[in-house]
Structures are given as structure tokens and as C-alpha cells.
């Protein structure tokens, strides 16, 4: 199922808020999960698994380390779901 970039960003922001308490409005494309949003590695796993379920995609463990920014994750999910 195809998702627009906006939809994925909004959905991901909701997940980040649910898992870490960070306000959804802070979750913007250029933000780094670790440096800007202070998401630790365990919380990142929760976010990835929740995103897989929400968007019906697979995010391999090897890929997670490449998802440094919110934009990286949004683009990966959009590409996978296309």
C-alpha cells in the first residue's frame, strides 16, 4: 500500500510520541533520532516495530542503523510501501 510522505511523517510522529513522550510536533524530517530527539536504542526498537505494523512494511535490523534522521525513516517506509 502506498503512503504519502506527509502521512508517513504524521504516523511516525504519533509513534515516536507514544513510545518516547516527545511531542509529535518536534518530530520533523531533519531531526536525528539520537542527537535531536534523544531516542535511545531500545526505544528505537519499539518505534521500528510499531512502524512496521502501522505501515505494513519490514524494516530489517541491519537497516535500522542507517535510519539516522526522521527523514531517513520516512523515505525508507515510503519506498518499501510503494
Amino acid at each position: 500500500m502506498a503512503h504519502s510522505e506527509q502521512d508517513v511523517l504524521a504516523g511516525l510522529a504519533e509513534i515516536v510520541n507514544e513510545e518516547s513522550g516527545i511531542p509529535a510536533s518536534d518530530v520533523t524530517l531533519e531531526k536525528s533520532f539520537t542527537d535531536d530527539l534523544d531516542v535511545d536504542s531500545l526505544t528505537m526498537v519499539s518505534i521500528v516495530v510499531a512502524a512496521e505494523e502501522k505501515f505494513g512494511v519490514k524494516i530489517p535490523d541491519d537497516e535500522v542503523k542507517n535510519l539516522k534522521t526522521v527523514g531517513d525513516a520516512v523515505h525508507f517506509i515510503v519506498a518499501q510501501a510503494a
Binding site: G21, L42, T43, V45, S46, V49
Partner: protein
């Protein structure tokens, strides 16, 4: 000369109150925290009663903070924050600040819930926080992290003696010079089908489902087991010197501790209470006092047929039959139920407050005293204790043959 160790903060969350003052008020009023479990999982169990926490810790903690903690860790954090605030939230040297939070069972509900997730949804869905949540040192580590303790975080595990052992461990840390200030106590959250079923098949739990408030009845002839409870008790302990330097209000001293093991049976108490008696003697010696100086006892008294008798024999063997028949004994598990790893800490707090307010709380549900007990058990109304600085004894025993006795000294 041993370092004097004082108590400067108290925190608790129990089946009868979300903090120390509400818990103490309920103890004095003799209000039971035991309820009938309405949960579907409980309906198949022979025991369908338990003492649930009066305040759900998830209502107190930040949502994300709560999500990453087992319920036992949630209780510990709530009680530790209360105790720390109560102590004045002091600025301390983190390298001289330690945490000891004991548990009897650890994160058992997390373990079981995540096993359900594994079976129903697969390995990918198991929470990445499962290990830190289920490990028995999880609550201690969470409290240490929240308060910034760097002299060590520890989690003694000795079943139902754990909470008291946590305080004994804290005492050792300060006396041996490893820390100046220690946040110490115990926690438990095991009201779940499996632990309930497992304690029940041991014939350890009361099955008085038709009378939940009357189920925890230490020393009564019709007692039939303990009532599973949940919650935590935490105290702030520091060297008297450290407390004085910061002008802290002192509630009591932890004057001595004694710890022994029965080497008798994995779950049965030594019927003569010999190991318990040795622990009490060691605690008195450690405090440098004679048996006749004990003015109040907060007994372990879980409401099991054998355990209550074994403890009374232990008390009588150390205090002598005559003096043991005079000292006011409170069995506060009649009110709170049995907090397992949290019990010893909550009951140490009760003993501290009894000394500080010169009031021993009543033991409820004691309608007909078991003749084998022969102790002066406080019933009905709270009992006034004599004025002046008094000593109290707090006993805690656990499956495995663990015996922990603490001696507390009131300071006013």
C-alpha cells in the same frame, strides 16, 4: 565504635495508601486492604483475594517512565521519590550515595506478559524493555538512575525477608564507609495468576474468599494463610554525621541488624524458630542492647498456621516468656496483607512511626487468640507506648530459611 545510622525520609505505597501518611492512618484505624479479585484470570483459582495497591503507580508516574518499568519498579520509584522528598531532596555527592531496593520475585508479571506476547504475536513483538523490566535488580537500578546514585545499586533477594535485608544491607554500606546516604527498602508486584496459583498449591495463601477483609488474621485460631499484597516501602538512611551536617530531621536510628539462615527446609519455617531467634539475638547484640530494652515488636506474622507460632517461639526464647508476654506486638500484615519483598521495609516504616508517635498499631481480625502464641498482641485500638527513646524489633522471614531482624531506635 559503629557509625550511627539514622533514618531521615520515609516512602511507601501499599494496599491501604498511596503514601506513608495514608498507610499509617489505615494501620492505626485497622482498615484492611484485602479485596475480592474480579479479574477473569482469578476466577479459576482457589484463592481469589489479594491486597492490591490503593493507588495505581501508573497514575503517579509519567506515562513513558511507567511504560519502561515493571509494576514492582513503578512502586519502588513512587516510594523512593516520596522518601527522597521527605528527606528534603538533599544535594549529595553522587559517589557517596547508594540505593538498595530488594524484591522477592522480581519482574514476574513482565516475564509472563511478554511470554504471552511471544506466543501470540511472535518474537519481533517482544518488548525491548523486557530484560531491564524483569531483572530483579531492575527496581534498584531504576531508583538509582532517577535519583543519581553512584556508590552502587543493589538488590538483595531473600523472598519475604528481602525488604528487611535491603535495609540491613544499607546499614552495612554506611557502617563500612561505602556510602554516606542510602535509599533502601523493598518492593513487590506479583498479583498475577501464576504466582497466586503457585503460592496456593503450597497451601500458603488464605482461601477466605467470602470474607476478604477478614482473611489476613495473624495469631487467630482460624488463620489459614497469608494474603498476597503489592507495593513498596523505602527509607532514606544516612550516617548521623551526614544528616547533622545538612540539618536533616531524624525520625529514628537503624540500631542493629541480624541475619541468619535455617538450613532446615526450603519453604517450611524451623518449627522451633531457632534461626529466627538467632537473628533476633544478633540484632540485639549489634544494637548493643538487652532483650528487656525492646519496647515494641512489629512481627513478621503472615497469618500462616506454622509461621506465626514459630516466630512467637523465637521471640519468647530471646525475650524470655515473662517479658515476651508484656511487649506490645503489632502484626500489620493483618491490615496490609503480605507485600513479600516489600513487607520488611513497609513494616520497618511502621515500627519507626510507632516509636516516633509512641503508638503501636492494632492487629485486626484477631477474634480468638491461638493458645500457642503467648504474646501481648495489640488489638482493637492503637496502644500508647511509654515516653522517651524506645527500641523496636522488626522481624522478617522468607522461603529459603532466611531470617532478618532489625532493631530500630526512636529518637524522641
Amino acid at each position: 565504635m559503629k557509625t550511627t545510622v539514622v533514618v531521615t525520609g520515609l516512602g511507601a505505597t501499599t494496599p491501604v495508601g498511596g503514601d506513608v501518611s495514608s498507610t499509617w492512618k489505615a494501620m492505626l484505624a485497622g482498615e484492611s486492604g484485602t479485596v475480592l479479585l474480579e479479574d477473569e484470570w482469578a476466577q479459576q483459582l482457589p484463592t481469589r483475594i489479594a491486597a492490591r495497591a490503593a493507588v495505581d503507580p501508573r497514575e503517579v508516574l509519567d506515562r513513558i517512565e511507567a511504560k519502561k518499568l515493571d509494576r514492582s519498579g513503578q512502586f519502588a520509584l513512587v516510594a523512593a521519590r516520596e522518601a527522597w522528598a521527605h528527606a528534603g531532596a538533599p544535594e549529595v555527592d553522587p559517589d557517596r550515595f547508594a540505593v538498595v531496593v530488594a524484591t522477592g520475585i522480581g519482574g514476574v508479571t513482565t516475564l509472563l506478559d511478554q511470554y504471552d506476547v511471544l506466543r501470540e504475536k511472535g518474537p519481533r513483538r517482544v518488548s525491548p524493555f523486557t530484560v531491564p523490566m524483569l531483572m530483579p535488580n531492575g527496581p534498584a537500578a531504576a531508583v538509582g538512575l532517577a535519583l543519581g546514585a553512584r556508590a552502587g545499586v543493589h538488590a538483595p533477594v531473600s523472598a519475604c525477608a528481602s525488604g528487611a535485608e535491603g535495609i540491613a544491607y544499607g546499614l552495612d554500606m554506611i557502617r563500612s564507609g561505602r556510602a554516606d546516604i542510602v535509599v533502601a527498602g523493598g518492593t513487590e508486584a506479583a498479583i498475577h495468576a501464576l504466582p497466586m496459583a503457585a503460592f496456593d498449591v503450597m497451601m500458603a495463601l488464605s482461601r477466605r474468599n467470602d470474607d476478604p477483609p477478614g482473611a489476613s488474621r495473624p495469631y487467630d485460631t482460624t488463620r489459614d494463610g497469608f494474603v498476597m499484597a503489592e507495593g513498596a516501602g523505602i527509607i532514606v538512611m544516612e550516617s548521623a554525621e551526614h544528616a547533622a551536617a545538612r540539618g536533616a530531621y531524624v525520625y529514628a536510628e537503624i540500631a542493629g541488624a541480624g541475619m541468619t539462615s535455617d538450613a532446615h527446609h526450603i519453604a517450611q519455617p524451623d518449627p522451633h524458630g531457632a534461626g529466627a531467634a538467632r537473628a533476633i539475638r544478633l540484632a540485639l547484640t549489634d544494637a548493643g542492647i538487652e532483650p528487656e530494652q525492646i519496647a515494641h515488636i512489629n512481627a513478621h506474622a503472615t497469618s500462616t498456621p506454622q509461621g506465626d507460632v514459630a516466630e512467637s517461639l523465637a521471640i519468647r526464647s530471646v525475650l524470655g516468656d515473662t517479658y515476651a508476654a508484656q511487649v506490645p506486638v503489632s502484626a500489620t500484615k493483618s491490615v496490609t496483607g503480605h507485600l513479600l519483598g516489600g513487607a520488611g521495609a513497609v513494616e520497618t516504616i511502621a515500627a519507626i512511626l510507632a516509636l516516633d508517635t509512641h503508638t503501636a498499631p492494632p492487629t485486626i481480625n484477631l477474634d480468638e487468640m491461638d493458645e500457642a502464641i503467648e504474646l501481648n498482641v495489640v488489638t482493637g485500638e492503637p496502644l500508647g507506648l511509654p515516653p522517651g527513646s524506645l527500641y523496636a524489633l522488626n522481624n522478617s522471614f522468607g522461603f529459603g530459611g532466611h531470617n532478618v531482624a532489625l532493631v530500630v531506635r526512636g529518637v524522641r
